[in-house]
Symmetry: C2
Subunit: 602 residues, 2 copies
């Protein structure tokens, strides 16, 4: 561990010519040391769990802000800062300013990086100008800009080490997700499912930014890096041309399946896991077929991008149940058998647990009881529809047809959960899931594709489930059985990422702006504090000077907050969110502030 600490302190103190010999495996080691928060997801497994335990369910009621920092940027602040040794790295939405802050000096600015980006990218971002944060490895800070530039900054100075362009905003391709570092590679996805972008994941060399591979979500096997024989879906080889043969003609070329979620990684299996997004357009009638491999959980070899297995959750989507939400890796006893698991809370309202070694489906249950578009996932292995949702015709926007308003579909397009990441505590063996509790009316219409122009094809309005007022719940979920253990109502969707800790305290933020701490076992609210603006950032924790801190970015926005963020007022604007979340303006205004909490001294 001494080597790790040395490396960390070098980041903060070494200046000038002496380049420390960072090994690529430092990242893996540092994520074992809970002092740091070295990855946007906490660790490779995406658990967002910290072993720190100074803050407990007994003392968290005394928590208070220790210091704060404004990013100087308004609109939605997703993601979380990193902490490497004595330095905190904070990012902002467009223009994606990065700050290195000195933890020894209440966040004094060590350096600032302000990319020059063409603001014409802003109208191409469907759901606010968000950025989900930074990664760290090998003395570099990785930033994935709105304009799809992937840039590596010297962690000590902020100087640009290398920079590559991953996409083309003039075609609607934008960057919102955090780049992730697995081994010696930087993995980066793409946004733009509402612009007919064909999604892909690309791997760049951490050292120099050279592209190593790119795997598309649809297209010929040479594009998807799918092996017709070796790549399986629910245990069976997918066969040739699986990325094109469920599309009509060339539609796969503008097929969506974007890749803007949080990625996880299993070093033992050398597989990375992520989800692909909705097929384009949102009008299902325009794109017959299953639209593979949109809406799919992917397991790819990190070194070459080859696909080990896929599982399509929502074939032929009719509601924008984009499948990008994170995959959380754990070891759990499922049905009496120890499994290397992958758990995923999908926009479609089902919580899935799979065996991540082979993609075997173990559990698939609703994590919001009001989900009504499907009755269940068919778990009968002998059924031809095995693994598929059993749909309810009343809520089929395709069955009802174009220009017909399908009413009362639950969840709404933004899903029972969106990108806001869940956490998992190995101590309680529970998942802590920030959820949306929202239904919608959905009217598809015919749309034609023009590069760089919206390719949505549906008009939406959103609202809480009938007879209810809470638009969110924060739940504890048993991934082994697919059951809600406890559920706390929230007035609005919980659009903040959760944090689980060894102190048996779970943290999350609310759209009104509260940071909340709840008991990991019971969900009892133990503490809340109103931060300057609505929280859509993810809570993180670190230790500095022997003391545990908890930090979160506030800054309302994102899809749920797009009305406030972009100044929209027509209810159907913001893909239906503006009307649904109109009441948010009674609670909070735009902002961009980091709040760092600690227990008082003495």
């Amino acid at each position: 561990m001494q080597k790790v600490l040395l490396a960390a302190s070098l980041v903060a103190t070494v200046a000038g010519s002496g380049v420390p010999a960072y090994a690529n495996d430092d990242l893996q080691k540092m994520q074992q040391d809970a002092k740091h928060w070295v990855m946007p997801t906490g660790n490779y497994s995406n658990q967002r769990y910290s072993k720190l335990s100074q803050i407990t369910s007994s003392n968290v009621g005394k928590l208070a802000p220790a210091w704060t920092f404004s990013t100087g940027v308004l609109r939605g602040h997703e993601g979380a800062p990193l902490v490497i040794g004595d330095v905190m790295y904070v990012h902002a939405p467009f223009p994606n300013t990065v700050f290195a802050l000195d933890l020894n000096n209440d966040g004094k600015i060590l350096w600032k990086y302000e990319p020059k980006q063409d603001p014409s990218v802003i109208p191409v971002m469907c759901c606010d100008t968000v950025n989900r944060g930074l990664s760290y490895a090998d003395g570099k800070i990785l930033l994935h800009q709105a304009d799809t530039t992937l840039v590596a900054l010297d962690a000590k100075t902020g100087a640009v080490v290398w920079s590559v362009k991953n996409g083309d905003p003039s075609k609607g391709e934008t960057g919102t997700s955090a780049a992730m570092v697995f081994k010696d590679k930087v993995l980066v996805g793409i946004s733009g499912g509402e612009f007919g972008v064909r999604g892909s994941v690309a791997a760049y060399n951490l050292k120099d930014g050279k592209k190593i591979w790119r795997g598309y979500s649809m297209g010929p096997d040479s594009d998807t890096l799918i092996d017709p024989e070796k790549t399986t879906s629910l245990g069976k080889p997918v066969g040739p041309d699986s990325g094109t043969n469920t599309w009509e003609g060339d539609q796969w070329k503008i097929g969506g399946g974007t890749t803007w979620g949080w990625y996880s990684y299993d070093p033992d299996l050398n597989l990375m896991y992520y989800g692909s997004g909705n097929p384009s357009t949102w009008n299902p009638t325009q794109r017959p077929g299953d639209n593979r491999w949109s809406m799919t959980i992917w397991a790819r070899d990190v070194d070459n991008g080859k696909v080990k297995w896929v599982y399509q959750m929502t074939p032929h989507d009719e509601w924008d149940y984009d499948g990008i939400n994170e995959m959380i890796l754990a070891e759990m006893d499922v049905g009496g058998k120890k499994r290397k698991t992958l758990t995923h809370f999908d926009r479609n309202g089902f919580g899935y647990t799979l065996d991540r070694t082979n993609g075997e489906l173990l559990v698939a249950e609703k994590f919001d009881p009001d989900v009504n578009w499907a009755t269940k996932i068919d778990m009968d292995k002998s059924s031809p529809d095995y693994g598929k949702p059993v749909r309810v015709k009343k809520y089929s926007t395709e069955a009802n047809g174009e220009d017909v308003n399908t009413k009362g579909v639950c969840p709404a397009a933004l899903g029972s959960k969106d990108e806001q990441p869940a956490a998992y505590s190995p101590k309680t063996d529970l998942f802590y899931v920030p959820t949306n509790h929202v239904c919608m009316d959905y009217e598809p219409f015919r749309v034609s594709y023009t590069a760089g122009q919206p390719y949505v094809g549906a008009t939406l309005s959103m609202y809480p489930p009938p007879g209810q007022t809470n638009m969110g719940n924060f739940i504890a979920w048993d991934g082994k059985t697919g059951k809600i253990v406890w559920s706390n109502k929230e007035q609005f969707s919980v659009w903040s990422g959760a944090l689980a800790t060894a102190g048996d305290v779970v943290f999350y933020g609310t759209l009104e702006g509260y940071l909340k701490a709840v008991d990991a076992k019971t969900g009892k609210e133990l503490y809340k504090f109103k931060t300057p603006s609505g929280i859509i950032g993810n809570v993180m924790t670190y230790e500095h000077g022997g003391k545990q801190y908890v930090a979160v970015l506030s800054g309302v926005g994102g899809w749920a907050g797009i009305g406030l963020a972009a100044g929209l007022t027509k209810p159907t604007e913001g893909l239906g969110a503006v009307g649904g979340y109109a009441a948010l303006s009674n609670y909070t205004a735009l902002g961009g502030t980091l709040t760092v909490f600690a227990l008082p001294n003495g």
Copy 2:
């Protein structure tokens, strides 16, 4: 007192048709009840002193943020919120959004008012898009917008009750100061001394916004409302045409003397007090004469604007030592005699105490020992220069002439203190003064006047006094003797307003973003907290639910922070402040956040 509390609670709770019978004297009564913070200056005397004493020098070290609120606006946040009963009223810089926040619900938004203003006013604002806050009276919230619109809002609903235009931004006239309510009148000044605006104070009827009087800083007696016989200067009648006869030709028409500071009021004398600003242009050679009544302390009858007395501090200004800083009223023993005093810390570096009944000059001493443009104020009543500064020729920008760079003048143009208001504690009988500790090089040049265009006529650069690094001090001042009692160094100018309390704790903010609490008697630092952005707002306090709170707006900007606020980088930009305060960007970024502090429960 019961009547007062009733009125306050009505503000928070009465809705609909029942209009409470607000008496105009309620304001005067409510400012006696320390629960409220009913005026931007704390009270008519401008003391910024609170009788609240729950927070003491013994317990203030445990202070912590209780809740926070982002205004959704960046750039400089001057001024302070008001608290009337259960409601807090928060303002923002351009576009001058106003929020009514529910103190019973962590600042839930009761209403929001967002004026529509032409953004073309922004480039006409010399020193950031600041606004110094709101006033309250008779159930109305008074807002003085950037575009000089004075608007009265219903305090319960935010509905516009009346609205008048006080000036014309196309001529460089803008609004930055808080409107003040004295008796049944709303008093409002004007900004634009760098655009050749002729300053004035206007009084509007609180009930309907009808203009009652306007008194100019220069011009014919009918404009200034000066009576040649009755209006005195240092005890002598000023004589006819005093507002034109120290100007060449018609230059008084573009003469400056703007009126954007904090006003105070003595109800017994029925006099209001304020200062007029610099003469236009900043090139002294272009405007021979004393340039009366720029740079002057004024005592006007509130009912008709008639001038009781004037005192010009810096005749024929050569350095932009704008005289607008606040006048603090007190009762003090000066030279063994009890006096109704007026104390003023001028940009020129002298702290003045006068008898406010008649304008008699009692004390005039440097409140920064590095002030070098004058050796002293001539206090010899028999001298023809009685009351005038004794200048040092080396630092005379007129003597050195146009296009010559006069170096090393202290203070810099932004003065030993700018608008950031001082506080006075009747308990300690001391003034607490946020100061600038900055010198300058000043090069005047010839400029021609065009309406609405900058009319500055000087190039400046600013820096700390030679051999020193601190650009600010926070001092305690004995107004009776003109002596510094204690002085705390600050890295940057203290551009935040001070608050003195009966708990013998004095509060102020710093440009790096710290809220600081110091011992009123010794200056010892007892507490500090890094707020999200640099503080140029004024600290205030109130009581709610039996608990004392302290609140301050952070949001770096103003003249000192104009580089950050407006994204300027050339050192001489921002009238010389950009280079002087360049290091500020190492500490903070733009923001706009209210932080409310309290002692922890239990």
